[in-house]
Symmetry: C2
Subunit: 323 residues, 2 copies
Amino acid sequence: MAVCPKTLSRSIPLASPERARSFDMMADLSDFSEDAKAITGWMKSWFDSSLGPAEQLKSAMGYSALSGGKRLRGGLVLACRRLAATQSGRSEGDGLALAAAVEMLHAYSLIHDDLPAMDDADLRRGQPSAHLAYDEATAILAGDALQTAAFQLLADPAHHPDAGVRAGMVLALAEASGLGGMAGGQMLDLQAEAGGFDLSAMQEMQDLKTGALIRAACRIGGLSAHADDRLLNQLDSYACHLGLAFQIADDLLDIQGDAGKTGKPGGQDQARGKATFVDFLGVDGAAGEAARLAGAARETLLDYGESAAALLALADFVTHRDH
Amino acid sequence: MAVCPKTLSRSIPLASPERARSFDMMADLSDFSEDAKAITGWMKSWFDSSLGPAEQLKSAMGYSALSGGKRLRGGLVLACRRLAATQSGRSEGDGLALAAAVEMLHAYSLIHDDLPAMDDADLRRGQPSAHLAYDEATAILAGDALQTAAFQLLADPAHHPDAGVRAGMVLALAEASGLGGMAGGQMLDLQAEAGGFDLSAMQEMQDLKTGALIRAACRIGGLSAHADDRLLNQLDSYACHLGLAFQIADDLLDIQGDAGKTGKPGGQDQARGKATFVDFLGVDGAAGEAARLAGAARETLLDYGESAAALLALADFVTHRDH
């Protein structure tokens, strides 16, 4: 997977105010809210129908995957899929299993990030972390098995009839999640607690740790509805900008937010001495950068008009999550 | 994935002595030794060429995946692939990436099994466990990223030209590794330390924890060379019997072996109060059962004669690993 362009602190022209206001954000965002419910419902059915003697493991997987969560990544799968379908005229099935796969991969990463040996976080999505609700061994295994389930869902012919698409989705998710993606980013993040980052190194870390999976979500959505290379590249550019805007907004929330909104205690990153974008850019600078990146994400897809309305609305919403 | 037949303590006719002796075990096993070297070499090249900023993570992945190990599972991929190729006349590439994928999945499971929250093992393949050689967070991430790498390798068109085969291999590995396979088995194994098994429950746990990946290795080998359903079923029966024979032999080794042969201290399972097949069957009974199962594994493939010689030799070897 090619790295994201160095988007930070580079001047990207924003959309004109007229174009930027050409959609109804709240109306278009309702798609994401509906999708989130449908994805969670699909996952619940999957857990209910998954047989096997390891009940405690299944319980812990469901505890983490089904609770809370905005389903941003799964929602991106479905929204990018719908946009691609308007181009290709093809979108087999409803895509919920593919969205669920990306959410399960994300849930695995949260469980493992929260472990005592990692971030040692007690609270996740407003409830005790998996290793506290169960135990550490069960939490490790639940994360492991959620990762496996993600690939199982994407490779299953029940969820997409085209083997080339299935293999392509598996490859996209794997490249985003492993050594050259999310896991690599988490490693760099852990190492930085001792050392420290400059702004460029922190963007690289965030691109890997958070951005890569957001890009994979958009790519999987596009692939599943047979997007052509041009649209796949546009979705990737959208995802690169959105991912970084999201991370900067997350850093702002960590300072400004409270546990009731974020599902985790405020100031966690600062308490651990972790550098955030706010440290480098200041609160106003970070907010401005997030807004600029969200605008650049929108700009990528503006030409698709109504077909891209949900994705355009999301780019705005990401930088206004505390409202 | 359907469960293995309940093979234990059921009378399966053994091959006649004449048929059983119709191959030169040591000559045929040399394939496995050569394959093991080639698989390790392939993995080493893969790690050398894998770019990315997370050097410590890559180092820990290689530390665990490249050290020691008999490459039984990777060897099964290649041996089953060769047998299938004699039937189908088709086997694109050399299969090393596919064998490496299964070995990386296995290496991930070893790293996580050894963690303090799991089996808390200090020694693996004759060297300090990953969490001691590095640290616990790095070990967790190395296991995570090795699992991801396994799926990435299987889904990559560079390693097999047929997308249907690639997606099928991913599905086989995922079904064998997750909630309904290896991770589920490890969960049951951990829970049993408190409670206890009867013989049937222990076989079920071992079928999941160890057998499922051995079956996936054989299936992946068969799929990669376009085995027909009849041969895939025969390979699965071979793998079911071989996997259980292997596990019983492992329990015997744990009692009789020493760290120099097994790479881990003897008596580990007993020291943790874990039930083993030897507890239920006694030393002689377990040895007899392992030999009987190995014979049944051989019987499944005897009709293929020389094409299956390596797999036949392996079935015998598994029950004689301490010689």
